[in-house]
Symmetry: none
Subunit: 248 residues, 2 copies
């Protein structure tokens, strides 16, 4: 049997069953596991499969979400960069949805071992690319607008959690009015998350600082850390600092 032929069979099996063991391939094709392993390595190098300990996986699952035309992506990246540093090994982290959070998810270091709990599909997908991170999805009805799960069931589940950190993607924040949003269901979720976390970190582009929206999530005081793309010493942020919020 030709090598290429064998590799075609292997590729076929992998795409068919999504995953294969080297041992079963070896038995099936009647060649040594070494040969199978070498084939898998080649196929993996060509990007046709994903090699893992003991066998290989189909790559059709693991295609990432395109970081498409996100509004002020550069600012959000800078925010995410600061936020990432707060996460330590072993932590439980609650996160909402939104592009800033997704960016944060994207930037997590490869070796970070932590558990991320989220209501956002896109964030969950992003987290799932990191091998050492556990991802918990809060289930319930999916909100069409925000692509996060909402509802009583979700809130109940969040209440049962005690997380170390909670990253909130900010829609509007104002010193006197507090953190705000415009979707009632989303507000409930964010509130629950804040209550269930030891530390609340608000991620906001500077543009949204000192703006208001229709519904109040919580007081400014309920936030522990505020991260923007600006220098922490920036004029705009000082009122928040004097209110006792840590600025990064």
């Amino acid at each position: 049997m030709l090598k290429e032929e064998r590799q075609a069979v292997i590729l076929h099996q992998i795409n068919l069953h999504n995953k294969v063991l080297s041992s079963s391939l070896s038995e099936q094709i009647q060649v040594s596991e070494d040969t199978i392993r070498r084939d898998l390595i080649e196929l993996a190098q060509e990007g046709k499969i994903i090699k893992v300990h003991g066998g290989a996986l189909s790559n059709s699952f693991h295609q990432g979400v395109s970081s498409r035309d996100v509004y002020s992506i550069e600012e959000k990246k800078r925010i995410a960069l600061k936020a990432v540093k707060l996460i330590k090994d072993g932590m439980f982290v609650l996160t909402t949805g939104g592009t800033t959070i997704t960016e944060l998810a994207h930037m997590l270091p490869k070796d970070l071992q932590a558990t991320f709990i989220t209501v956002s599909l896109s964030a969950a997908l992003e987290y799932s690319h990191h091998p050492n991170i556990e991802v918990i999805i809060i289930g319930d009805k999916l909100s069409k607008n925000s692509k996060i799960t909402i509802g009583a069931e979700a809130i109940l589940k969040i209440q049962q959690i005690k997380a170390d950190l909670c990253f909130i993607g900010v829609n509007a924040i104002d010193l006197s009015e507090g953190l705000m949003d415009n979707d009632w269901d989303v507000v409930q979720i964010k509130r629950a998350m804040i209550k269930s976390s030891k530390k609340v970190i608000a991620l906001s582009i500077a543009e949204k600082v000192n703006t208001v929206d229709q519904l109040k999530i919580c007081d400014a005081d309920d936030i522990d850390i505020l991260i923007t793309e600006l220098d922490p010493e920036a004029e705009k942020l000082q009122p928040y600092r004097s209110r006792g919020i840590q600025i990064l």
Copy 2:
């Protein structure tokens, strides 16, 4: 025998079997392997075949599954088309993950009003594009491989549901062994879904029919309807029909 004549024979053999060994050609045509090799090199230079170590392949061998594409997408579309027709307004539908299910989600009619409950992120995202469809996500730990939620919590939630339909993406199905899969957690989820549904519909490309895998999900009898891309009258499917499974 003339060179041209011989090369014609070789080309014929290759197109017939999609591959050929230099050694077997040498024996067959009664010339040295050197000559065969030179012929293969010429044919390869003319672009008529693909030369590889030990023999040659037909051109049609490599082309086809480009790595990023979903495997046998056409078949899956045909399956999805049949499956969609089973869903009526007002129904509660449970679905697993997998590319066939995602295809199904993609093909839902715009005016369908139904509730879809799923453990799959990609399916959920696809459902959410349909304005009249309610999407419920079953929450729990996210499986890195299959991008579906798994675990006791998810199973508990599934058990609390009584759905009208349940679409199962098949990994392997065999009349005597039943429905099979290769991931323990996924098997648990699929089992729970089957138990919680009035009607179980298995979606499988014909290639997976009569194959086995490592773990058993349920007996073939537990399936109500089997959908493949083949004509329902196809030979391969008749044993399932005589077992009382409806074939579409």
